[in-house]
């Protein structure tokens, strides 16, 4: 199986652990991943102003690059890239007038009509690999790990690009169960981490992130699994600020779902890049005898 891959900016710098673990796991799953040879930033957020088409140009150019490589589907790992590319694609598919304006503006590019299918690794695993096959391929089951599946916003909303039910998603639950972990259901799984408000209203972002972590722990989770580098920043890297501000909080390991996939596929420890996660992330895996170095 072969698939085109759009990484996005953050995966090459701050979120190398999201990318490298995913690529190693996909290799173990015998999926050939072809990174687009030329890609640009997707813009991180989809433009919500009706008269702002210039910000749709960047993601559409990426989709045209996918076509140029002879692919019909492109896979993303970052939730925000997924959302931006998928929504731009929907617009090009459904809005004839805006499509014409954008195509006319990019006169050096071939006309684009939303032909490419945008998928996230999670729905690729569900729909293309299949849970049964994935289960067969698990070499190191994550037995005994209680992980809260944290979806965040951009994989689920709006409905037209949702990879699962926007209010009652199960895909990340199922993913964790297939890997052998216990998926800990908690009400905040689909709530917002505060996202870019870390710039505009850092205290508000901190408070909503605290709410999510506390909710996960209160429901019995030992760790969180997520897919978005900005969620990872707010819930993981910034956790020290949460622990310092809110009493009675304990540290919670936060993993990218791709790192847990890589562990289950038996990928070597160094490709997990756990040094980029919170310290407790390696410790929990060692405690459960899931790291090779410990075993």
């Amino acid at each position: 199986m072969k698939i085109a891959y759009y990484p996005g900016c953050t995966l090459k710098t701050r979120a190398k652990n999201l990318e490298i673990a995913a690529l190693a796991a996909l290799k173990a799953l015998e999926v050939e991943v072809e990174e687009l040879p030329r890609w640009n930033c997707c813009g991180a957020v989809y433009s919500l102003a009706d008269d702002d088409l210039i910000h749709i140009v960047a993601p559409v150019r990426d989709l045209i690059r996918v076509q140029e490589q002879g692919h019909t589907t492109v896979m993303t790992l970052c939730s925000m890239c997924y959302n931006t590319l998928a929504r731009a694609n929907e617009l090009m598919k459904t809005d004839e007038i805006k499509r014409k304006t954008i195509n006319d503006f990019m006169d050096e590019e071939p006309d684009y009509k939303g032909e490419v299918k945008v998928v996230h690794l999670l729905d690729f695993l569900r729909d293309e690999i299949g849970w049964d096959k994935l289960k067969e391929m698990v070499k190191v089951p994550l037995t005994g790990m209680k992980v809260a599946p944290y979806y965040g916003c951009t994989l689920l909303r709006p409905k037209d690009v949702a990879i699962d039910h926007p209010d009652n998603p199960q895909i990340l639950h199922k993913f964790l169960q297939v890997l052998g972990a216990e998926a800990v259901d908690f009400p905040s799984a689909i709530e917002c981490c505060g996202t870019y408000q870390v710039l505009g209203n850092p205290e508000a972002a901190l408070s909503v992130s605290h709410h999510i972590l506390k909710d996960a722990v209160d429901h019995g989770a030992e760790a969180l699994a997520l897919a978005c580098p900005l969620c990872d920043y707010n819930l993981g890297r910034r956790q020290d600020a949460i622990l310092g501000k809110f009493e009675g909080m304990q540290e919670v390991p936060v993993y990218y779902f791709t790192q847990l996939l890589a562990v289950a596929m038996g990928v070597s420890d160094k490709e997990l890049h756990l040094e980029l996660n919170r310290g407790s992330s390696s410790e929990l895996l060692k405690d459960k005898n899931l790291l090779k170095a410990a075993g």
Binding site: T10, A49, M80, C153, L230
Partner: protein, 135 residues
């Protein structure tokens, strides 16, 4: 606090701009409050999305400008998914932000950010934050 409403207090220009930028007809809102009950930022906003829709329907520019809601909104889209009237509230928030940002009034000043505040930030935080909070 009672609000005085007359033909003179309705700012039709603001209503028209928000309608044009958002592509949304906020008159559809029937004030059920599902958005307010769904908003993760509800503790941090000075007026709920429901109240903002009412203020828009009445064209109350001053009260709308005084609300921090569009600037604390994280575009999480929960209100959109749950709105029984199918109103795209995140787009209306964008409209309210854009009428300010298009006057070259930034909500945050990138040049005032301290290096230690941003050194660790993922790029998507910077790109999305600047897209939403600066003109």
């Amino acid at each position: 606090m009672p609000i005085k409403i007359s033909l003179k207090t309705i700012d039709e220009q603001l209503q028209r701009k928000v309608r044009e930028i958002s592509g949304q007809n906020f008159s559809k809102c029937f004030q059920c409050g599902t958005c307010a009950g769904s908003c993760p930022m509800v503790e941090h906003i000075s007026a709920t999305p429901r109240k903002l829709m009412a203020l828009l329907q009445m064209g109350q520019r001053e009260l709308l400008e005084a609300a921090n809601t569009p600037w604390v909104c994280a575009s999480c889209h929960t209100c959109l998914v749950r709105c029984p009237r199918g109103l795209d509230i995140p787009r209306i928030m964008e409209g309210l932000r854009q009428v300010v940002l298009r006057q070259n009034i930034n909500r945050i000043e990138p040049s005032n950010l301290q290096p230690e505040e941003v050194i660790d930030l993922p790029q998507i935080a910077m790109v999305s934050g600047f897209r939403k909070l600066t003109g």
